[in-house]
Symmetry: C2
Subunit: 227 residues, 2 copies
């Protein structure tokens, strides 16, 4: 296994270089880039649809959405009227920084100040690949179980925000929000959580506030560098 570990390190280190270049570019421009990670079916696409349709009209948002197969998600998100591009990985279980760089090639970054990346549905592998994002956001739907932060510590360690989704289903499942938060806090003390439902809109105000505060911070940092 030594050879495979060495090659894995080389691939990750090549990824780090590209991700670092992307991050430098995003930071310089004050572009906020977010990387959404979760299991399949936790509600990433629905969250993006809702988020985009609630953005102020002057927001210059764009979306990259990764899937092993199909461009269903891109077609769903495109209805919100923002530019979207599907990255079909053709079997690969995660997005990497070179896929992001290639996808951005055809876009003028001058026209974008919010880049939302929907990763491949997988709670494990996407965690290790930096995409140059400002923040990783982990989604966990209440139907998946409150034990998941403990079982998938990697993403909870690296995430800047935890979204607990589909809380409209809480009456029908055994999920203890406080317990899920406690499990996550053992791995990542201070990680903020927002419990939300795309169906009822609950929690969207808190999510919108988080997003706007993060945008303001990234924008202020870019202004500072240019000043």
């Amino acid at each position: 296994m030594t050879a495979s570990v060495t090659v894995e390190r080389k691939i990750l280190s090549a990824n780090e270089r590209i991700a670092s270049d992307l991050r430098t570019e995003f930071t310089r421009r004050g572009l906020l880039c977010l990387n959404f990670i979760s299991s399949p079916g936790s509600g990433k696409t629905t969250l993006l649809e809702r988020t985009l349709s609630g953005l102020p009209s002057e927001t210059r948002a764009a979306v990259l959405t990764g899937d092993i197969q199909t461009d269903n998600d891109a077609r769903r998100i495109a209805r919100a009227g923002f530019p979207v591009k599907q990255i079909s990985t053709g079997g690969t279980c995660h997005l990497d920084a070179s896929m992001i760089a290639r996808a951005l090639d055809a876009w003028d970054l001058d026209d974008i100040d919010l880049l939302l990346i929907e990763n491949v549905g997988n709670l494990v592998c996407p965690t290790s690949f930096d995409l140059g994002e400002d923040a990783k956001i982990v989604l966990l739907s209440v139907t998946e179980g409150d034990d998941k932060p403990e079982k998938y510590p990697g993403i909870y360690r690296r995430a800047a925000l935890s979204l607990i989704t589909k809380i409209d289903l809480l009456p029908y499942v055994d999920f203890d929000v406080a317990l899920a938060r406690a499990h996550a806090a053992q791995i990542h003390p201070g990680l903020p959580h927002i419990a939300m439902s795309c169906r009822t809109g609950e929690g969207f105000e808190a999510w919108h506030e988080w997003l706007m505060a993060r945008r303001a911070a990234v924008s202020a940092a870019a202004d500072e560098v240019q000043a």
Copy 2:
């Protein structure tokens, strides 16, 4: 990326050899080995708990359960009274055949005729790793969306059975069972599906019948070889 592809092929081919040895051994003994694959939180552990507690008392079942971290699942399953061993992968996103071979080392296969393997919660990576099983079984809970067979074709191509779980939640989510089956049929015509709920017990009779028929077939094949 050529070097990484070559190494990936070598790892897979080493895995094939070990898996093939395991399969030969299982087949010779008439031991039925099943590999359960799904997203995190689709209900693999609950299915195993319920299945084990409903088995005829003379069944000599054993369970291997894979997780990145924690031995929660093994502790849950152990309550059913059958031998169980946790394989903690420590970050790796799938089980491989060498992990199975090592875990079986301490057990006498003479004492086992049904081996249930709960893979790491991941709909992508475990698909590529043969564990010597007689059949892969894919679980999809109705909260994950009826589009998932189309988006994760690899596992639907290789599975021998599809379990659609948590159907007690159907009234509260947008999931069309017929559509999910139609998506799966495009990838794997003839793949059998069982819609079930571990909460209400619906579908368990069909699942039990499938399991018993498969055991009988594996057992008959072993007898034929020995005759």
